[in-house]
């Protein structure tokens, strides 16, 4: 290792990504390729700035775990059930079909059938990280393509467990398993342990996590909240590793169990940055593990093998997707997306070499092919986008219900005020996304079966998670003056398509909100006060219609005044003076109105006295 301190390592990794990723992104290559290039550059086979990748790799794989956890958060159990066809149909067809194709190709190259079978199973895997990140960047993850690819990847994750059991049986010379990650658990015990772990995650997710987060949230300590979220993911990972299962799968399961939890949005927002960074690190390590030595020795062979592999996977996958009735454009995109080798290949290669199924020479070769195929994927995807799609349109439109639905309206603050506005809107069939910071409030509403999320709505990431990018309306009803202003500003800046309706404290706050860009403001006490005043007038003897009209007139006058004072709002003295004057005017107006209105003025339409007078005049 040329640099030994953690700090120096971090410096190198961060510097490489800060330089390479923006350039790659600018050049239209996507961030994944940027990371891979950065990794290749600093790796032991190029600049040699970083050394032992195995350690970093293990750490970086945590990025994949977090990725699957976050995806799990988006998939409610019911949705998972509805995706069973994609997972077990398309997924199984992919693994078996493509595994066989690759094995056949390997046999055609002259390998023993056992080697071929092992290689087929290993190379059929695709890279969850690269596929999902790429689809995300292209905006395809939530569409039909995304669902199909995700189903396949999920099935691959599931099949790692049986593969770990089955692959050693292909050993040419039986070797006592040395690479088993299961630390001595075997056979039935192993199965039992896996079952227990899964049950623990399901039960914990359902019954334990909620109360814990509620407790933590009540302390209102941001960093502890984040720490708890990370602890949860790491805990699940550790548990899964203990029983020898895919940590990514465990994390996904935990995510699914929490998908209905009210803290989901906040969890998502808190963990998101870690996902990005660790995934980046993961891609860098893949880049860095490119064995240039081997590449130099057999450049043509490796390139040919890689391209062959990618061609087989892409073509076969397109065919399979087509057989599952996807339109051609989508089917081809799925094929191209899944055409690389996956990160599990590295694990499985190590495992089968240890188990004596493959020679270590062959293993190194496989690793190189997988790594190169990962590097090439973003490029192939670019080529596919440019030339491959032809006139077949790829459907980016979200498959209804494939993932969490989007909301029309975001209600920030579902307290006394927000509830009235929000319930009215929801009762008329619009989908609302509710955010609040009061734990007791949330609990109360949950008991009545409402989906409401914990979180501070001024946070950009949370707004985004609540669906601010697609929503049409943002109703700001939080009971914090400053935060409301902050929220208007944030929303205006990042989600210009949102119409912002805000609850205002008072006149001044209302102007401030408008200044920041709110479209509509409503002073929180105004309508209530007016309603009570109107009832008061009635009790004082006015006819109901008379009182109603008086209140309506009052409202109109007041709003007109509000508009007229608007230009003066910045000028403190002018404002006070003007509002005092207007206050006086309003008083005059009101008293005149009251004196008059008993008989005339606003009742003018029904006041026939002037007509009567005119007729008397005429008669004389």
């Amino acid at each position: 290792m040329s640099t030994d301190t953690v700090l120096m390592q971090a410096l190198v990794y961060l510097l490489a990504s800060v330089i390479a990723v923006p350039i790659a992104k600018r050049a239209g290559l996507g961030s994944v390729l940027g990371y891979l290039i950065a990794g290749a550059a600093i790796g032991p086979f190029a600049l040699h700035l970083v050394g032992n990748q195995a350690d970093v790799m293990r750490f970086a794989e945590f990025g994949v775990v977090i990725l699957l956890f976050l995806i799990g958060l988006e998939v409610r159990p019911a949705l998972l059930w509805s995706m069973r066809a994609a997972i077990f149909g398309l997924g199984a067809a992919q693994l078996i079909g493509i595994g066989l194709c690759i094995a056949a190709a390997a046999m055609a190259l002259g390998l023993d059938w056992r080697h071929a079978a092992a290689i087929g199973a290993i190379l059929a895997m695709s890279s969850t990280a690269i596929v999902l990140q790429t689809l995300d960047e292209k905006g395809l993850r939530r569409g039909a393509v995304g669902s199909a690819a995700f189903g396949v990847l999920l099935f691959q994750d599931l099949s790692v467990i049986p593969l770990l059991v089955l692959l050693p049986m292909l050993a040419v010379v039986p070797v006592v398993a040395v690479a088993g990650a299961d630390g001595g658990l075997h056979g039935w015990w192993h199965a039992l342990a896996v079952l227990a772990a899964v049950l623990a995650i399901v039960a914990g997710g359902r019954y334990l996590i909620g109360p814990i987060f509620r407790f933590i949230a009540a302390t209102r300590l941001r960093e502890i909240y984040t720490a708890t979220a990370l602890l949860l993911v790491i805990g699940v990972t550790a548990l899964m590793q203990l029983v020898g299962m895919s940590p990514a799968l465990g994390a996904f399961l935990a995510g699914v169990m929490l998908a209905e939890n009210e803290f989901r949005r906040e969890l998502e927002a808190d963990i998101e940055p870690f996902r990005g960074l660790l995934l980046g690190l993961f891609f860098i390590t893949v880049g860095a593990s490119l064995d240039f030595g081997l590449l130099m020795r057999h450049p043509v062979l490796i390139l040919a093998l890689t391209l062959g592999l990618m061609a087989i996977k892409a073509v076969a996958m397109s065919g399979i997707a087509r057989a599952f009735r996807m339109p051609w454009g989508d089917a081809r995109t799925v094929g191209v997306a899944l055409c690389q080798g996956g990160e599990f290949a590295f694990v499985l290669v190590g495992f089968v070499v240890g188990a004596g199924v493959l020679t270590s020479e062959l293993g190194r070769m496989l690793n190189a092919v997988v790594a190169v195929s990962m590097v090439l994927t973003p490029l192939v995807f670019l080529l596919h986008e440019r030339f491959g799609q032809g006139n077949a349109e790829v459907s980016t439109a979200a498959v209804p219900d494939a993932f969490d639905e989007t909301a029309d309206v975001i209600i920030a603050g579902f307290g006394r005020f927000g509830q009235i506005a929000g319930r009215l809107i929801a009762a008329n069939g619009f989908r609302t996304s509710l955010l609040d910071v009061s734990v007791s409030q949330i609990e109360l509403l949950r008991r009545f079966g409402r989906r409401i999320h914990y979180g501070d709505a001024t946070r950009l990431d949370l707004l985004r998670a609540a669906g601010a990018e697609k929503a049409r309306l943002l109703v700001i009803a939080i009971d914090d003056r400053e935060k409301a202003l902050e929220l208007v500003e944030t929303a205006k800046q990042y989600f210009p398509q949102l119409t912002i309706l805000a609850r205002a404290w008072d006149r001044r706050h209302a102007y401030e909100l408008l200044d920041r860009g709110a479209d509509v403001v409503e002073r929180e006490t105004f309508e209530g006060g007016l309603a009570l005043g109107r009832i008061g007038l009635q009790r004082l003897g006015l006819r109901a219609n008379q009182a109603l009209r008086a209140a309506n007139l009052f409202r109109r006058q007041d709003r007109r005044l509000f508009d007229e004072l608007m230009p003066l709002r910045d000028d403190e003295d002018g404002f006070i003076l003007a509002s005092r004057q207007s206050q006086a005017t309003l008083d005059q107006l009101l008293s005149a109105e009251l004196q008059e209105s008993v008989t005339s003025d606003r009742d003018r339409g029904w006041d026939t006295s002037s007509v009567a007078e005119e007729m008397r005049d005429a008669a004389e």
Binding site: A518, D519, V520, E522, E564, R604, E614
Partner: protein
């Protein structure tokens, strides 16, 4: 969205004429414009309307000559701003009242608007001459077919009889009464039929505008009533 009170700047422009700052008395000052036709639409549930919505949409691009005023959108609470309405009337030469026939009469808000806005001293009476010389056109849709509006039909009287109150109002207030624009049989009319009627409506309005004398008698004034 439109049901929110126009407290913000955006909605204001859509729903009401722009009000410039005005004196303490609050007299509204309307924007200046050269439009000579005022089209007042009164339909309490435009979202359900087939015919009136189509008519309204068919003339929407005539905004250079026509001021559009969706009454139920502006005054859903029946709280009519009398000064603004009077000024608006005064600013135009051609007044179109477009509405579906409800119980042989206008929808309630249009009647309320008449009661509140067409006041003694403004529309009629010795000094009430502000509407003199203008033209009033009623554009009416009816569920009943033409035969229903005959002596042997279910409505017994010709349609003109039901519009007598409006005709008399026009007469009293010194407006010329234009031959009403009627669409019968709205329950049966198909989309093609609606399209034909919409084109006819458009043509009729264009003719009315074209027939105006170029005297330029009352382009928008900028004073309150």
């Amino acid at each position: 969205m439109k049901s929110f009170w126009p407290f913000g700047r955006r909605k204001r422009v859509i729903a009401k004429p722009r009000l410039a700052a005005s004196g303490p008395s609050g007299g509204p000052v309307l924007e200046r414009h050269n439009r000579r036709m005022l089209l007042i639409l009164a339909h309490p549930a435009l979202q359900r309307s087939r015919v009136n919505a189509a008519l309204y949409a068919a003339v929407a691009d005539m905004a250079d000559d026509v001021t559009f005023h969706d009454l139920y959108e502006s005054y859903a609470d029946f709280s009519i701003d009398v000064e603004v309405e009077q000024q608006r009337l005064a600013d135009h030469d051609l007044i179109i009242l477009q509405f579906p026939m409800y119980w042989y009469a206008t929808p309630a808000l249009l009647k309320e608007w008449l009661d509140m806005v067409w006041l003694h001293g403004f529309a009629y009476g010795r000094s009430g001459t502000r509407l003199h010389g203008k033209t009033l056109l009623c554009a009416v849709t009816t569920g009943g077919e033409p035969e229903a509006y005959t002596p042997s039909g279910s409505n017994r009287f010709p349609i003109a009889e039901f519009l007598r109150p409006m005709e008399a109002t026009a007469y009293l207030c010194g407006l010329a009464w234009a031959e009403p624009f009627i669409i019968h049989d709205t329950f049966q009319i198909d989309d093609a039929g609606i399209a034909i009627q919409a084109a006819r409506y458009r043509k009729r309005l264009a003719e009315l505008i074209a027939a105006l004398p170029v005297t330029n008698s009352a382009p928008a004034t900028a004073t309150a009533a």
